[in-house]
Amino acid sequence: MSAILPPSEQVWWKTPVGKEEIVWIALALTWCLIMFAMMPIWHVYGKQNLSNEAYKTTPVQYEAKVKAMVEQHTIRTQSVGEMDVPVVAPPAGSDVYILGRLWSWYPMLEFKKGESYRLHLSSLDWQHGFSLQPININLQIVPEYETVITITPDTSGEFTIVCNEYCGILHHTMLGKIYVTE
């Protein structure tokens, strides 16, 4: 019974340490440093990083930007319940916007495979979770903050944005769409 008793020695700091502990600490520390190095290395060589670009905004200001894009680049609409949701195909390389609100993602986007887009994300009300499926990219969407990521879809098809931050009673109905064409 001695982890529940004071140490045997008055000066226990100088008691020699067993070999397995020393070897283990050396191995574990090496592994820790490798894991630490991996993150900066991926920033340099990896292709999937979260940009640090973000702005403080307001729901009104952000919604206006979304509307401007929708007015310019809508190619068709898709009916969801009683609403006609615009599907927007902005030019490659441009700034594109999605907003989250209770309980929908707006608008729908159409991308070209292999092109890059500056995707802006924000919320008009509560926090939401941008979860792009089945790709499985997940971002936190925070009201009054506008995130900008440069995204390059390298697969085509229909993709769904699931909300994965709890946002109230109809949270589980909140879906959006991104289409990627060849």
């Binding site: 008055q10 000066v11 226990w12 700091w13 100088k14 973000a54 702005y55 403080k56 905004t57 200001q61 952000y62 903050y145 506008e146």
Partner: protein, 49 residues
């Protein structure tokens, strides 16, 4: 006699026996690196044009 004994206790052991110094370190470290630095990051986010 007792003073001599004190002196032989290594600094690291004395640190580990000093509860309030540990409390100070344990509260200061995350307050500075996590909270204060984090809050500074947030307030320095530029305003959207």
């Amino acid at each position: 006699m007792s003073e001599e004994k004190e002196e032989r206790v290594p600094a690291m052991q004395r640190l580990l026996d000093n509860y309030f110094l540990l409390l100070f370190l344990g509260v200061t470290m995350p307050t500075v690196f996590y909270i204060l630095w984090g809050v500074m990051e947030i307030v320095s986010i530029p305003i959207a044009k």
